[in-house]
Amino acid sequence: MAYVAARGGERAIEQSQRLYRERLGTIDAARVDEIGRALPWLVDRIMGEASLYAPELAALALTQSGGDLYEAVLLLRAWRTTQPRLAVAEPLIQDKLFIHRRISAAFKDIPGGQILGPTLDYSHRILRTDILEGAAFDPEPVERSAEPAPPHQPSLASWQKAQGLVVDFAREDIPKDDIPDLTREPLLFPASRAHRLQSLARADTGGVMALGYAVMRGYGPAHPTVNELRLGEADVEIAHPRGTVFSAGRVRVSQAEVASKAAIENIDLGFCATLGWNEVKIIAGGTLDLNAQHATKGSPFEEEFFLSHTEPVEGSGFCLHFKLPHYVTFQSMLDAMRDARRKQAAKASKAVVKEPAE
């Protein structure tokens, strides 16, 4: 059977888009601003998955898509392609992050101490239905300390390396312009570590969580503990034409090291980081990184498996494309099915005709 060109449905398509947008109502700058202020964690999640730090645009994408996260990420990724790359910033070094939260679940007395920062980790999860009855919820103000926290915190991994607890891998400096870049080259396997970590940084939160969770539940050999988790702000340092390196501003970033509980000679660590503050993603991503070296082909913690299946635009796009017209393929499958049935029926009728020997 040949392919046939078909047309039609233009009016239906036009009206379906109107119907979709009619539900969202008028979108204006005030609504975008309100969404940005009301949903900072969601804005961060979207920016991480879009691999584009632009809070205003992320809020706009969320507003325009009515909160369909994959649609919002797609909008941002598409918009990003309209912009030129102006520079590569200086690499972020952990010790230089402006820290808002820094904890370790593995070591109680870490150098610099445990700082909870903004979190609901130890709160009761109670839905405040009284708000729907007209009550307002005004959060209690923080009772600020007399002294400020240090803006920077020492690296736990560096301390562990100095103590001989963690392997201090030799590192090679490469020029920042030569760092492998997934936006300019394909992801091939086995992936370079730079590609793996970039891919995790822009991965789908839910996908990374699902596969990381599978590993945590026992499908992977290394059960994780958070060695160190940081939420902070990073300076975007670029070079002035006269050579002065300066910060053009700050962006929120998260990073986690995940330690294996099965330490014998050394503590094995996995690593994950992302733009924006997104803890579940970096813990799950760090767990996948930690376990990847022990993976068998096809397991959820094998690099090719988890990187290929957590790319949000490719994954959602492939999933959703199955709802678009597949009439030709489906018709072809039906033809094959009918043909097989006809042959089966013919075979069966011949079998009936054949009498057993008496």
Partner: protein, 145 residues
């Protein structure tokens, strides 16, 4: 040593301008503009800066993602000025570039210096407030023996 000091001062100027209040820096640039003479705009655009990060486990540099920035590059006579800010405020970047050029040319030095000192103080105060709130969440651990 002299070069280091100059670069440190230039860095402080640029970082303060980049993080200063957008409406105040634009107002200053508006005030300076009549004194600057002919301004040639070389660049005024938005774009992306790729942000690499160093993995703390193996020390590998990788790309964390891109950051939207606004960039401006101007020329006042023989002097160049440059501005870049995180976000998409082209006017903020342009104001930064104009003030950078004015500072390098030695124009309106007192105005620029006073602005930088005032903005740096506001930024430092805001940062201190943030860090005092962060410090309030420090865990004081008790161990039972």
């Amino acid at each position: 040593m002299m070069i280091d000091d100059e670069q440190a001062a230039h860095r402080r100027l640029l970082e303060t301008l980049a993080r200063s209040d957008a409406s105040r820096i634009k107002a200053l640039a508006d005030d300076l503009l009549p004194e600057l003479g002919a301004v040639e705009v070389l660049k005024s655009r938005s774009g992306l800066v790729m942000l690499p990060m160093r993995d703390t486990v193996r020390g590998i540099d990788f790309h964390l993602g891109e950051v939207l920035v606004a960039e401006a590059h101007v020329k006042l006579g023989g002097v160049e000025g440059y501005g870049m800010v995180v976000g998409r405020d082209l006017e903020h970047a342009m104001a930064m570039a104009l003030i950078d050029a004015a500072a390098f040319a030695g124009l309106m030095q007192d105005r620029v210096r006073a602005f930088i000192e005032a903005e740096a103080a506001i930024i430092a105060k805001t940062e201190c407030q943030t860090l005092r709130a962060v410090e309030a969440t420090r865990v004081e651990m008790e161990t039972f023996r």
